[in-house]
Amino acid sequence: MDFRDTPEEAAFRAELRSWLQENAPERAVEAGRGDFDALRAWGGRLYDAGYVGITWPEEYGGRGLSPTYQAIYLEEASRADAPNHPGVIGLNMAGPTIIAWGTGEQKQRYLKPLLSGEEIWCQGFSEPGSGSDLAAGRTSAVLDGDHWVVNGQKVWSSYAHKADWCILVVRTDPDVPKHAGLSYLIVDMHAPGVTVRPLHQITGDPEFNEIFFDDVRVPRESILGQPGDGWKVAMTTLLHERGTLGFALSAELERMVNHLVDLVREEGPDGRRPADDPLIRDAVAREWIEMQSLRFTNYRALTTLLETGIPGPEGSGVKLAWSEANQRLTSLAQSVFGLHAQVTGEDAPWNGFWQYWQLRSRGNTIEAGTSEILRNIIAERVLGLPKGR
């Protein structure tokens, strides 16, 4: 057991830190509101500097390093308060799935522009009638000559309004049991018949979207795996979404804790310093401890991953715990403003930062696996309890 960086890791960290100091733009206060073109440019600079696809094979534009380096990147980027690469869906979901299931041609075609931020990806998994129940999806694809013809509707798709490509789960065989009839397509978001409708969140920002497919023609070969493999391929996607998520989340939480510390040490609009209130002190310490516990839980999962190639089960609770911590933390922050927390626009305290993130945090226990589903998964897959459904 040794938490210190190896000399190589330390060098990587030092180089990265100074690169970030010189290059990272200021992070927009509110996620959905940033300038997307500027973000895309930032993604390109990150890629050019070698900080995107750190763990991906070199032949596809990656750097072939161990996940430890990715963890270091996430920590440092968060400490520098740098914005995220805009291609999160591509990096965390589409990319790893293509690496696992794609043909050589597909890898050549899609991976590099994904890393550089030139092409943005989105995902089409959920449907209005089937939230957490992926296998109940009804969006269909029917083979017509050399093309799949896709019809249906997807929802909760972030970045769809900016995306060039979509990883799409469709039903290609309605006559077999529901898991067996799914396939996994790569769909051009600029194709005729694709319509994106932004869904505004409770923050007011359009972060997720609905996607409508109306006789969209998709080349027959734009499929990952074989027809009928859709469920298995999607599980790879979700595994990777969750597998690489932990460090990103604890890094996010570290950033929020740091902001919280800044906030409570400031003098408030009523002349008091929240940090002088023992109840607030107790709550801040609790979240710092929570953040460290998630950080080191990630390290444990990472160690297992390095040793066995499979992430440790310790990590499965990180998203669950993070989402609730982030909700507590942002609510605490809002509470120090009193009614002032309600004022929006230019008179909003902290330029609306806490307002936005407090509201945004209510989605944390819903998106990327609801807390209810995650608790089921831990109970069934980690603890071996009998299935409740």
Partner: protein
Amino acid sequence: MDFAFSEEQEQLRGFTREFLADRYDDVRLARLADSETGVDAEVWPKLAEMGWLDAELTFLDQAVLLEETGYRPLAAPYFSTTVLAAPALDDEAAKQVADGRLTATLAWAEPGMRQGLLHPAGTSVSDGRLTGQKVLVPDGAAVDLFVVTAADGLYAVNASDAVVTPHGGLDGTRRLASVRFEGAPARPLATGEAAAALLGRIRDRAYAAVALEAVGVAQRALDLLVAYAKERKQFGKPIGVYQAVSHKASDVYVRLQEARSLAYWAAWCVAEDDPMARQACLAAKAHAGEAAVFACESAIQGHGGIGFTWEHVLHRYYKRAQWLAAFDGPARDQRAEVAAFLLD
């Protein structure tokens, strides 16, 4: 011992609920909240007609109205006028309020000073002219008159004599404003100890009112959650069969009933000027504010993604719940006062 509203009060509740449901269905509420001012300009004369502004209404009668305007938010300065301002008004202004000709609010918080209702104010009056800066004034851009706390008492100032800066607000139908007074003509309403006592009664009343509204908010959130849990299916069953959902709904129900009991106790104490009024109002405000937030958060979670959208009405209630919970400081501030009664 009798813990029920009278038959007349229950009738009033029925009318009120119907009126509000009719006038402020979820679509209309959203439209008003997102409008320029957040105020339904035409509703005020109707309130007067229905007797909501009558001086004879007891606070228990009003409790019914307040709970219902939590259940269906009313886009008008009703809380500000009748709860925050009315108790301080002189007869003439009170009569105008009762006739539906005057709306009002209370302006107390000042920048750089403790902002509780009972904290000292720095605003000063000299030669009948008031000068000072007030912030976080509820419905500040929607009323005709300000009741203003000053260092030596309470004063009435016409809105037309003040510089009002309206703010955007998370809760679109109850926004805040900053108000600057630059030697504005001011009519004294109360001074010295009488003013302090009056302000204390206003705060008790406001806490009870906030608790009652919070109960209405929580009830609506629970109703939405239960309806959705019966209808929405996942994995082939209505989600209400899963204990992760049904037990959360049960917890909301229990908290809501607790909050309601405290809110009614507080309302009765205010109506009867009971010696326990202060503690009852602190308890009700602290508990019900948190209960409403909890109910809304549980309902959003129970709805999944759809409950997180701007289109769904839930976030309107959530923001109102947050407004209420934040009013005059978070629950921990009220608990600190309760503790002082118990422990010092």
